[in-house]
């Protein structure tokens, strides 16, 4: 089936949810409300003739610096593909401007678990009902969400764990090889010398 026809069927099925659908470079995308995202993606996955069984990617987008954006500040973008039927669709969920949150789809695709953790890690978008929502790429005590557009490229100061790490390195330094104490030719005074 043509991807645009799928978008039309989706609109008929979820008239309240679909905000917009468009085509760019031959790829069809729909912008949706976040409320019923799990039901919507399950419909795309399980309906005959649609069968989007492969979640190709899941990522966040921050529209803060875009002037032409039709969506809210934060988006979660799902790229879906049907392996048996060879068609694709992109679902962009607008998840709001402040405190973005959306339901997790880890129950539909087990692989979404880590992709959602990554999105949480880098954008601070929270996923309801996620089995294990922790940071994945950055340390657990990292402050801020680096891929947000208001996060500076060079970061905001040093990682707070760095002080602890340097202290540990300094502590372990005392086990290091010290050439002063092991100089060649300078043997420890033997008992005979002392006598």
């Amino acid at each position: 089936m043509e991807s645009m026809a799928i978008a039309d069927r989706l609109r008929a099925e979820f008239p309240e949810e679909i905000l917009q659908s468009y085509t760019n470079q031959g790829q069809v995308a729909v912008i949706v409300r976040p409320g019923r995202i799990v039901a919507l993606l399950r419909w795309l996955r399980d309906t005959d003739g649609v069968r989007m069984d492969h979640l190709r990617s899941l990522c966040g987008v921050d529209n803060l610096r875009r002037k032409d954006s039709e969506s809210s500040r934060f988006e979660v973008v799902y790229n879906l593909y049907s392996i048996p039927l060879r068609h694709a669709i992109r679902v962009r969920a607008s998840v709001g401007d402040k405190d973005p949150v959306i339901d997790s789809v880890a129950g539909l695709w087990a692989g979404a678990d880590w992709l959602e953790r990554e999105t949480y890690d880098l954008f601070g978008i929270r996923f309801n009902n996620h089995p294990d929502l922790r940071r994945v790429l950055l340390p657990d005590d990292w402050v801020g969400y680096p891929l947000r557009k208001d996060y500076p490229l060079k970061g905001k100061g040093e990682w707070i764990g760095m002080t602890e790490l340097l202290a540990k390195v300094k502590e372990l330094d005392r086990f290091d090889f010290d050439p002063e104490r092991h100089e060649r030719g300078r043997t420890a005074p033997s008992q005979e010398d002392e006598q």
Binding site: K67, N79, W114, V136
Partner: protein, 408 residues
Amino acid sequence: MSRPVTKHLEIPAADGDGERYSLRMGPQHPATHGVLRVDLELDGETIVTCTPQVGYLHRGIEKLAENKTYAQSLILTDRLDYIAAMANNVGYCVAVERLLSISVPLRAKYIRTMVAEMSRICSHLLWLATHALDIGAMTVFLYCFREREILLDLFEELCGARLTFSYPRIGGVRQDVTAGFIAELQRFLDIFPARIEEYETLIDTNRIWLKRTVGIGRVTGGEALSLGLTGACLRGSGIDYDIRKHQPYDAYDLVDFEVPLGNDGDIYARYRCRMEELHQSARIIQQCIDRLPPGPIVGPDTPDLVMPNKAPARFQAETAAYGTGLVKLIRDQNLYLAGDVYVATEAPKGELGFYFVSDGNNRPYRMHIRSPSFIHIGALAAIAKGEMIADLIANIGSLDVVLGESDR
């Protein structure tokens, strides 16, 4: 932050009942193929839970790319899967070309197909070498490196680099192949099929190899899809998904090749898939050599030019000012098409996808990299659960992960 700080240097305490205990494997473990840490909870030698921890190699490539022009970001992709950098370069270029509607001349398409397949052979050889070494077959390691060395020498002749190539360009390739290069490559193709058989005689029916791989790390087709596995890991479970066939890019729709499939979804099935892929890659390279058409190697619309005089008019002022041809960073001007695309290519490790959002500027507004290694490591917990700890090593090797790509 309310979350507890991970104590990296603390030895995890035992559970207390004397049977279950935790073990921290990595990040400096030789069999984790990079800086992967796996926190294990074990019952005897059986894995109860397995929690992979990544991020040691995180360099913020996606954030960096948002602050560089499309051409400048190309070199960042070398640092993803550094074992098959050419495949990343090609994937990146194909995606940007689709985003910005840039056409590529036929000769460049064939050359890119050729080098991408050479890269695939390199990657699979390194995979086989280290995977076999992990399981205990020492000899295969040296055999594989012998052939990989020939290919690295060829790459060096082609573009001067052995690992981080940046040879493809948006809209083509950097420089043309020479007759000497083609002749050397032909010599490699003449010996390579016999060399594959050599590896196969060493391990294909080896009793120890079979004991370590058959029936281990089994993933059904449905599970593999749900976990998001791609590449040989998905095809080993019997699902026919190869992006080179499904959504052909470059010259893949102009060459003949088959997509090898496995049935059992175990480590042995994935091993057989990759061995067959070596044959198919050699076949594709042979066809590229035979059919390589004459013509230009870079398209007229490329934003990234080594030759300023051939730049499109809208870039000429910038290219002249900058000499090297890298187009200057121009803010707040609509140079390119706005919009978003997701374009995937079949990298040696699986589906390497780039999701671009463009706002018309000459930098990507957002670049997301769908890296197969990240998703495969995420799937490790489900695959290794309930198996023996020794098989975890085999499973990591079989999923074929590289941490540079996973952590980005």
